[in-house]
Amino acid sequence: MSVAGATGIFDSVQRSSAMAASARRRRMRLLPYVLLAPSLLFLGLFTYLPVARVVVESLYDKPHGTGAATSFVGLGNYARVLSDPAFHKAALNNLVYAVGVLVPTLVLALAFALAVQRSTRFSAVLRTVFFFPSLVPLVAAASLFFFIFLPGVGLLDYYLAKLGLHGPNWLGDSDVALWSIIGLTVWKNAGYYMLFYIAGLQNVPRDTVEAAMIDGANAWQRLRFVILPALAPTTAFVTVIALIQLLTSVDHVIVLTRGGPSNATNLLLYYIFQSAHENFEYGKAAAATLISVAVLLAISFGSLRIMERGARGNG
């Protein structure tokens, strides 16, 4: 073989391996998209497509069962939703519900976590008891609480009577009903968030705590000035998760009160559910969905900002 020939073969080998390399590079460039494809498919179908549909649907109105045609109403549905007193009540209720659940839940979760820190048998039992409610489906918890809240002979009233007290109509008094739902939710969720705090507590720098003790700080001061700040990222994380959950679970309303009495326990998601499935006002339901989603996003982004700042602060 001549040198030229050998070089030619060498060239072609180099070229083919270069081609193989570039082919491989091309594949590598496409790889991330291939990996993400399945997730993106489902995300598209069940998160983004619905949002698009909702936006479109919210602009139309098809009166149910009158034979009238679907008509384009532009922002008409939004106006109807925003002027609907039931929507106002649902939004207000959701706000009260969110704060009313979040604050006690966080406090209790932290308190429980602090209480069961040590790994004694007793702590293990406590941990089980507190955590257990979160394992149970909300529907099951609601059924139990239906009995607990039963006027007169239910669990609460029965034992209150033994103490000589008289409870209100837990689910039938429009001033109390929402708080009963709040109570049920706190009972159910506190134990779940307790676990996050247990994890968070393990990350509190031991030396800082000891330094504070040496400086003569008592338990309260240690809590306020050392532990709580160190737990900021955990608190932020729990808050975001809790808020999302609070806006998107209405199982207990469905089972216990169906929004009543007189909208006292109507929540945004339940309002949407009712508009769509009981009143067949799909345009209105779509508009309400979009409004709720906007609120959800605003809250989440807001809290994420805080979380990110906290995470960056802690390195």
């Binding site: 007169g152 002979v153 008289h166 429009s174």
Partner: protein, 434 residues
């Protein structure tokens, strides 16, 4: 055997085989049913369905328990929307207008024609009070299955203790308040009525009818009469029971809670459906009795209960199968048996001519009272968007029972909301002018 004979036998066998095929090609249909009272009824209905399936081969019915009346409507319509309508649904009797307007249910006239009977002939055996809710715009849309009226249940022992003659229960609103005042003491209330969704609307209809009025326009689904004197008076009456006479607790109590209180002796008189008759008979430990709903102007009560309807969008085979099942479910004997089991009254007059029924009534006089109230029974309210229009009233009355509104304001607001809900229909009908 000769070849011809063999061939002949073969042909015969083939004919039999193909004739038997339809029996093998079963029609499968779905039957949605609510059970308004308790789990036992759901089990019984499932048992009845199984009985039907075993009694014949052509149709296989899958019975689906779908919760309460409102939930059943929800589920049936959701299924229809998704393209899989149930064949037969036991639907609250007053949803027929709503469902017909939305095109969800089929007229049963073609089935009657195929059976060579007319609507009038078919309905002759059913109590007159039930006809109006089963017929929409002159066509039959549902077959009544079990019906009820509200009844006043009262604790006989409490009566004796308070010095009231148990054989003379209150007949008028005046007597009711009187008795309730004597019975209320300690943590026991003289009177209690369910105020949850669906029940409250029904009972308010009963009270406003007893007050001389009509809740709605029976012939036109676009008008309700919430702010008229008869309903206003009924609302004020309920308000007074709670706040003026103090014989009823404040707030909303669900039906389950009301019966529980009755059993526990914490409520002496309760307004409940005849559908709860069996449940109460079985669980009430103290002596009790039943009476008509007390009147203010006249004796009048709405019927309650459910009818069998067929949903649109099913195949011809499915329709035939569904109709066969409906006919089986509504024979006088089956209806009578169900009535004795549940406490609902049987919609067929002929059910009461059967010996088992006569014996049952003789042994259980409380069942007879429900029957005696029938001549005073009127149609259940049925309008365009029945559920939403009903809730418009219920939400306001619930607010009133919680002390948030006065009766006058409540009925006014209810009327306003109801009118707005019915506007789309009204604008397409009576307000649509050339």
């Amino acid at each position: 055997m000769t070849i011809v004979t063999r061939l002949g036998m073969g042909a015969l066998a083939l004919t039999f085989a193909t004739a038997a095929l339809p029996a093998w090609a079963q029609t499968k249909i779905e039957f949605f049913f609510p059970v308004p009272v308790e789990g036992k009824l759901a089990r019984e209905m499932t048992r009845l369905t199984k009985l039907y399936n075993e009694s014949q081969k052509g149709v296989e019915v899958t019975a689906v328990y779908t919760g309460g009346y409102d939930d059943t409507k929800l589920k049936a319509q959701a299924a229809a929307k998704a393209g899989k309508p149930p064949s037969v649904v036991l639907m609250s009797a007053n949803f027929l207008v709503d469902l017909k307007l939305s095109g969800d249910i089929l007229p049963l006239e073609p089935m009657l024609k195929a059976d060579e009977t007319t609507r009038d002939d078919y309905l002759k055996d059913f109590w007159p009070a039930l006809h109006a809710n089963a017929v929409v715009d002159g066509e039959l849309y549902g077959v009544p299955f079990h019906n009820s009226t509200p009844l006043l249940y009262y604790n006989v022992e409490h009566f004796k203790e308070a010095g009231i003659d148990p054989a003379k229960p209150p007949r008028t609103w005046v007597e009711l308040v009187d008795a309730a005042k004597k019975l209320t003491k300690g943590d026991r209330y003289g009177f209690l009525m369910p105020a949850g969704y669906d029940y409250l609307g029904w009972l308010m209809e009963a009270l406003s009818m007893s007050n001389g009025g009509r809740y709605f326009n029976e012939e036109y689904g676009g008008e309700v009469y919430y702010d008229q004197p008869s309903m206003l008076g009924a609302a004020r009456f309920v308000e007074d029971l709670i706040f003026k006479h103090k014989v009823m607790p404040q707030g909303v109590t669900e039906a389950g809670g009301v019966s529980t209180q009755f059993f526990a002796g914490k409520a002496s008189m309760v307004l409940l459906s005849t559908g709860s008759l069996s449940f109460i008979r079985e669980n009430m430990k103290q002596a009790y009795d039943v009476a008509f709903v007390p009147k203010n102007v006249r004796n009048a009560v709405p019927i309650g209960g459910a009818s069998l309807v067929m949903f649109a969008g099913q195949s011809e085979d499915s329709k035939k199968a569904g109709w066969k099942f409906i006919k089986w479910l509504t024979t006088p004997e089956t209806l009578g048996g169900w009535s004795r089991f549940t406490g609902y009254f049987a919609p067929r007059k002929s059910s009461y001519d059967k010996p088992e029924m006569k014996e049952f009534i003789a042994k259980n006089p409380d069942a007879k009272v429900a029957l005696d109230q029938l001549p005073y029974a009127k149609p259940w309210f049925a309008t365009y968007q029945t559920v939403a229009v009903r809730k418009a009233l219920e939400d306001e009355i619930q607010a009133m029972m919680n002390g948030k509104k006065k009766a006058d304001q409540a009925v006014k607001d209810a009327q306003k909301k109801a009118d707005e809900l019915m506007r789309p229909y009204v604008e397409q009908t009576s307000l649509k002018l050339p």
